[in-house]
């Protein structure tokens, strides 16, 4: 109120003292009436600042533009800084060239008779290594040519086209969801490159994050199964805060009727980095109320969704 912290503390103490003196037990049922009134005015689980929904194609376009802007700022020597998996920046972009080529095969844009590899990493190693010795801008341009082709093919696509399932690197998803995965991967690798080159990390826009967290929570049961965690019949409430946040109640197993056993509250962007396996599940920052073991299973399941 005064802008001075000492003055604020004194006023705070005054309020505490008098407030405590004047507390009175509310009448029975007032809590229920308050909740009912409040939820009629604003439904639960919808963020106050929910961004208008965007198409996965738009999320993918934004991710391409963002990574391309980061690449455009690099000096030649920065392209040889190490990132992940023994790849330098240029080889990592080479990996993305390989993934985009495989996406084209999955979308029917590639040469006939060539099947889409099942592995996300090994199948792109040759093209990643082939970038060695090339001028970095040639690598960047090759990647942009491929992403431009993807956007040209899907921009303005009807909703039913985005619902067609495709298989890429062993994952089967509707085209729309696959593009959300692509946008997610481009963001995560942009962060890998920004870390390598000493630049601050930048999260996607709110609407794109909403697509990503929504898809991640949809896929969470599959991730928990991939992680080999036995959570059949259990339920968890997951509250993600900040941009891309929301509230999800996940019931694991087809016949789950158990009450919620754990509530997990975490930052949405941090959760996305967990899904990308860029944060250690064992030390993931979250508030956990309830079954701590189930929470750890959820974190392991999230990290198991990572492509690398």
């Amino acid at each position: 109120m005064t802008g001075d912290s000492t003055s604020m503390n004194t006023l705070e103490e005054l309020r505490t003292a008098l407030d405590m003196a004047h507390a009175a037990t509310p009448p029975p049922g007032l809590d229920t009436r308050v909740m009912a009134t409040a939820l009629r005015r604003r439904p639960a689980h919808i963020p106050v600042d929910q961004a208008p929904a965007i198409s996965p194609v738009e999320a993918y376009r934004q991710a391409v533009a963002s990574l391309d802007a980061t690449l455009g700022q690099l000096h030649d020597e920065q392209w040889h800084l190490p990132t992940i998996r023994d790849l330098d920046v240029q080889a990592l972009v080479g990996h993305l060239i390989g993934v985009e080529e495989h996406l084209h095969l999955a979308l029917g844009l590639g040469p006939d008779g060539v099947s889409v590899p099942e592995d996300h990493i090994a199948s792109t190693d040759p093209v990643a290594l082939a970038q060695r010795g090339r001028p970095p801008q040639h690598t960047r341009q090759e990647w942009r040519t491929l992403t431009d082709r993807t956007l040209e093919h899907l921009w303005g696509a009807r909703h039913d086209v985005l619902q067609v399932e495709v298989r890429l690197h062993g994952i089967v998803l509707p085209v729309g969801s696959m593009l959300t995965v692509r946008a997610f991967e481009l963001w995560i690798h942009e962060e890998d490159i920004r870390r390598a080159t000493g630049q601050p990390l930048v999260a996607p826009g709110r609407a794109a994050l909403q697509l990503m967290t929504g898809l991640a929570l949809d896929l969470l049961p599959a991730g928990v199964a991939m992680a080999g965690r036995d959570v059949d019949g259990r339920s968890a409430r997951i509250v993600l805060t900040g941009a891309g946040g929301g509230v999800w109640e996940k019931r694991f197993g087809p016949a789950c009727t158990d009450p919620i056993a754990v509530r997990i509250v975490a930052d949405a962007v941090s959760f996305c980095r967990l899904v990308a396996n860029r944060v250690d599940p064992a030390t993931f920052p979250a508030d956990i109320s309830g079954d701590d073991t189930l929470a750890r299973d959820v974190f392991a399941g999230a990290a198991a969704l990572a492509l690398d």
Binding site: T2, T16, A17, A21, G245, D267
Partner: protein, 189 residues
């Protein structure tokens, strides 16, 4: 428990923003008796106090972004909201009673339990005694800031003084109160 936010109030605000209704229920559990008690003290009428409580918590749920933890605690924020809405209710009631030719009565409710009565009275008496010892110009800014929940700008306007004068009177008053009350609050704690 691991947290990634600075304070418990930051965490509650973040949960309210994304629509976690359990956070609202927790806020009510923690501060419902405070808000109800403050409202009841001002409006006197139980039904009117309930309406104030509903307004305060509904407003928090629909506008969680209006609570800024950097400016004060959630408890203080809810207390100010309760006081303002309760005062507005009384003003409306007084105006209505005046139109109808009736006298408006206000009664003060009992504290929540017999065990709290002695402590509540001691706390209340200590704070009121200290405020009463202030020079009149400092006492009036404190009473407006605390009981009325007015900002510096608002109380300067109400008193017809420059905002800088209001700020310095408030700072002087709070310095005195801090030195008088701190030892007493430690005894009562």
């Amino acid at each position: 428990m691991v947290t990634w936010v600075d304070t418990a109030d930051d965490a509650v605000r973040a949960r309210l923003l994304v629509g976690d209704e359990e956070a609202l229920a927790e806020v009510f559990d923690r501060y419902g008796s405070l808000v109800y008690g403050l409202a009841r003290r001002v409006v006197g009428d139980a039904a009117a106090a309930e309406d104030v409580v509903q307004e305060v918590f509904t407003w928090l749920w629909t506008h969680p972004d209006r609570f800024d933890p950097a400016r004060g605690s959630l408890r203080a924020f809810l207390g100010i909201q309760a006081q303002r809405r309760a005062i507005d209710t009384v003003r409306s009631s007084v105006r209505r009673a005046a139109r109808e030719g009736r006298h408006h009565d206000v009664d003060v409710p009992e504290p929540s339990s017999p065990g709290a009565e002695v402590e509540a009275a001691a706390v209340s008496a200590a704070v009121r005694d200290a405020i009463g010892r202030l020079p009149v110009e400092q006492r009036e800014v404190v009473e407006l800031a605390y009981f009325g929940g007015y900002t510096q700008r608002e109380l300067a306007s109400l008193l017809g003084i420059p905002e800088g004068t209001a700020k310095s009177r408030l700072r002087l008053a709070q310095s005195k109160l801090s030195s008088w009350l701190a030892p007493q609050m430690m005894e009562l704690a």
